[in-house]
């Protein structure tokens, strides 16, 4: 039996109060910090999904996003490094459509069914830009969802799937566009979303002989937090009892990641035996029928949607959001980064992306970054790799300054941290409240972007107060 064997999610710490965008607007939307992008969020969701799972058993990673940081350059490989997966695995990026998340999921299912992979991970993330003050802007949220697909210990079996495509200009971005464009919503909703998803769900129910009463939960992509209700009703579902809340009040529409994240939210509430219908949307629709198994109780220890949504900091200044997204230009700092060397970025990849230090085989001292000669016993080349990204740490000391770049976050908190189990590291702290930073503060590691120069984006790890 092939199906979902684990799930994970990531919602950024920060929420923008919709009141900050438009007076009287209700609720909040999740927004990624200035040092996050779809790659970092997808990595965070994947790591959440792999809690308690041997990372060496994963043999496929598919990354889905409409907001890939690169036009040409694989993102799945960067994420696989951050997640510290082995290198002889399937990797691919799925993009260009809001349906990319479920497209990747379909492909992962097929890979496992075909035997090309035993455990394939799909991780989807989006941080789409709407025109400032447009109708889309309050709706778009940032986040990521991840699913692990396998054929043993299946948590959610896949009973059926059905897809349709729909060629239409309803939401789009040309290569030259930064912001999502659309047409009059009466047209786009009627002939895009409503028609596309309806065709997929009714096609699936007809083909496999389901009726609305067969489902305990219907998980629908929702463009605006309202139309999915209209859609559910028209298909014969009870919107009061069967329809998954699309979380518009607290998160917003997270694009290609949205259906995966909503599925995770539904699974967090599901019990063994529940049958769930999922339908994505984007130039057509992918619909799936899932059945929850007893295994689900074994993977409850994830931060998931609930944990991430409960941990938040509300941004009330719209200008902060605009600056973080680069819509408001920041004053350029002189002589900060002259260039990023591709050979150096490549050479340091295990340290910088996997956050692997070394442990001395002679004396046991953990050291970061990796060394040739042990700082403690001076043994030469007697090291084994040692993953630090999954270790908790405590702040040994710190500074908070106003002259170190980047200027998007003042003060910059620089920390020296000591890992539980050994190892010390100096790194920035992110997602922090300057008032709460003290010596001894427990922190965890989070994968973030650092510098962008000449089209090279480097990524590294930062400390952050443990999200609770």
């Amino acid at each position: 039996m092939v199906g979902i064997t684990s799930y994970g999610a990531y919602v950024p710490l920060f929420r923008l109060s919709r009141e900050a965008i438009a007076k009287g607007a209700k609720g909040e939307k999740a927004i990624c910090n200035f040092d996050e992008d779809s790659i970092t969020m997808a990595a965070a969701a994947a790591i959440d999904c792999l809690n308690g799972i041997d990372r060496n058993t994963v043999d496929g990673l598919y990354f889905a996003s409409t907001t890939h940081p690169y036009k040409e350059k694989l993102g799945a490989s960067t994420i696989a490094m951050a997640v510290d997966l082995k290198t002889d695995i399937l990797t691919a990026d799925f993009s260009h459509s809001l349906r990319a998340g479920t497209s990747a999921f379909n492909s992962a299912l097929d890979a496992v069914k075909a035997g090309s992979a035993k455990k394939a991970m799909v991780t989807a993330a989006d941080c789409r830009l709407a025109f400032p003050r447009s109708a889309f802007e309050p709706n778009f949220g940032d986040g990521a969802g991840a699913l692990l697909i396998g054929d043993t210990d299946v948590v959610v079996s896949v009973e059926a799937s059905y897809s349709v495509y729909n060629e239409i200009m309803d939401v789009w971005r040309h290569e030259t566009d930064s912001f999502v464009r659309t047409w009059e919503d009466r047209f786009t909703l009627a002939h895009g979303y409503l028609q596309g998803v309806k065709e997929a769900i009714s096609g699936l129910m007809k083909k496999f002989g389901y009726s609305p009463a067969d489902f305990s939960k219907v998980v629908l992509y929702s463009p605006d937090g309202r139309r999915h209700v209209e859609l559910a009703k028209s298909l014969g579902f009870d919107d009061k009892t069967q329809v998954q809340d699309p979380l518009f009040a607290v998160m917003g529409n997270t694009g290609a990641a949205f259906p995966l994240m909503l599925l995770v939210a539904a699974l967090e509430e599901a019990k063994a035996g529940d049958r769930i219908l999922l339908a994505s949307y984007g130039d057509g629709s992918d619909a799936f029928v899932f059945q929850v198994t007893e295994q689900i109780e074994k993977i409850r220890n994830r931060r998931g949607m609930k944990g991430h949504l409960a941990s938040k900091k509300v941004v009330t200044d719209y200008k902060d959001y605009l600056a973080w997204r680069g819509i408001l230009p920041a004053e350029p700092r002189k002589e900060t980064v002259v260039f990023l060397s591709a050979p150096a970025v490549w050479r340091e990849r295990d340290a910088n992306l996997r956050l692997r230090g070394v442990k001395c085989k002679a004396c046991g001292t953990v050291q970061f970054p990796p060394q040739r000669v042990c700082t403690h016993c001076h043994a030469k080349d007697q090291f084994e790799p040692y993953r630090l990204s999954d270790k908790k740490a405590k702040v040994f000391t710190f500074a908070m300054d106003r002259i170190t770049s980047p200027v998007l976050e003042l003060p910059i908190v620089t920390t020296t941290i000591d890992f539980d189990g050994g190892g010390r590291m100096q790194c920035f702290m992110t997602d922090r409240d300057p008032e709460q930073v003290v010596c001894g503060l427990p922190v965890e590691m989070t994968f973030r972007k650092l510098q962008l120069k000449d089209g090279i984006q480097n990524y590294f790890w930062k400390s952050m107060p443990i999200r609770t």
Binding site: E335, R347, T365, F368, A399, D401, S405, T416
Partner: protein, 393 residues
């Protein structure tokens, strides 16, 4: 192993105005500092047989110095050891003389920091490389991390430790008013220093030194030759240099309340100079007060104050001009300014004049033995130079 004690003498020194010298380039500074030193020593540029040139931000290779001074095909090495570069440049010139390969050598440091935006080249590469995952900031947050931990370790209240920092700042500002070549020459109050904007918590504006343009130079020779040149030459008693190997960031045992590089350099220097009780035997010191926390910790690292007790000596006024061990009599980095590789030589310039009795309104009653201390870098990778000087009589 023979040490450097009494084997090298300073016979001339020069120092430019320090500050924001927008209208001078680094060659102008080299000329001004060197010619003052030539005049002081009573020699001509052609008498220089070897030279060492310290710079970090301004000018690569010995040819820069040769072209500024028109030195004719003599060996010149460029020295770079971050903020310890000036004293290290001097150290190399002394070793040249002591080795017997030359009789008269020039040590000179110069920087045009203010040609860089914000006064400091932000693009610090060491000890990392071009993957640029380290923060590309000035070292202030490194020293601020020591201040944070010092506060935590000894249980200081923020306001109380800031007051100690402010007393150090006030002392250095007071001394700076009497230094005509200093960048900042005005008195400040404890309240001003405590309430100044934060640069890097917990360090404020007045807890940080100036970033400056400037140059300073020394002419060194053997004591035998020095005797024939002037009576008041100054003898080198010790030269020490240490470089951190990343221990502070690789080994969690490092406590962030002292500089192991400075402790080791001081021990080496005291041994070479035959000093057993630095607080009693040293009359004046120029220490690397890049930040107030650095000066505070340095009192302890150099053995001037017991570990953790430096603040008591600050409150007692021990390091003021009237105290028993005046420190940074010319205003220190704080007020004289800090053109990185010139600073060590500027400190030697002050000790040279104090020991000669030529320090003007800053002149100490007793100045027989003086110490210079420089430290620069980032945690784990500090480079520290300590030098000790005495009079021939």
């Amino acid at each position: 192993m023979e040490g450097i004690r009494d084997r090298v003498a300073i016979v001339g020194m020069g120092c430019t105005q320090f500050g924001e010298l927008w209208d001078k380039n680094h060659r102008d500074l080299l000329v001004d500092a060197a010619y003052e030193a030539f005049e002081d020593a009573g020699i001509e540029p052609k008498d220089i047989q070897m030279a060492w040139y310290g710079s970090r931000e301004s000018g690569f290779t010995g040819a820069q110095l040769a072209s500024a001074l028109k030195l004719e095909y003599i060996p010149i090495s460029r020295v770079e050891n971050f903020c310890a570069g000036g004293t290290d440049t001097f150290r190399n010139a002394c070793y040249g003389v002591a080795s017997g390969v030359c009789d008269i050598a020039l040590a000179i440091g110069a920087e045009k920091c203010k040609d860089h935006f914000g006064g400091f080249n932000m693009d610090i590469l060491e000890p990392f490389d071009r993957s640029m995952t380290e923060w590309d900031g000035p070292p202030v947050n490194q020293f601020a991390q020591l201040a944070t931990r010092y506060m935590y370790h000894y249980g200081w209240k923020y306001e109380d430790l800031k007051r100690i920092f402010a007393m150090i700042d006030v002392k250095n500002h007071h001394n700076g008013t009497m230094s005509p070549k200093a960048q900042f020459r005005r008195e400040i109050t404890v309240e001003q220093a405590m309430n100044a904007p934060i640069i890097s918590y917990p360090l404020g504006l007045f807890d940080a030194c100036g970033v400056s343009d400037g140059s300073a130079a020394a002419i060194v020779t053997t004591p035998e030759i020095a005797k024939s040149m002037r009576k008041d030459y100054i003898l080198v008693k010790a030269l020490a240099l240490t470089n951190g190997g990343g221990q502070a960031v690789l080994q969690p045992e490092y406590d962030f309340i002292h500089f192991p590089e400075a402790v080791a350099a001081a021990q080496h220097a005291y041994k070479e100079a035959g000093i057993t009780n630095p607080r009693q035997e040293i009359d004046c010191a120029e220490v690397h007060d890049c930040f107030a926390i650095t000066e505070l910790i340095t009192y302890e690292d150099l053995g001037f104050s017991p570990r953790g007790k430096a603040a008591e000596d600050v409150e007692a006024g021990s390091f003021t001009l009237e105290g028993d061990l005046p420190v940074n009599t010319d205003g220190g980095l704080k007020c004289f300014g800090h053109p990185l590789s010139a600073s060590g030589l500027r400190m030697i310039y002050e000790i040279y004049h104090q020991l000669q009795g030529k320090a003007g309104p800053r002149q100490l009653k007793k100045a027989d033995v003086g110490l210079v201390h420089n430290i620069g870098g980032i945690c784990g990778f500090f480079n520290c130079a300590v030098a000790i000087f005495g009079r021939p009589d």
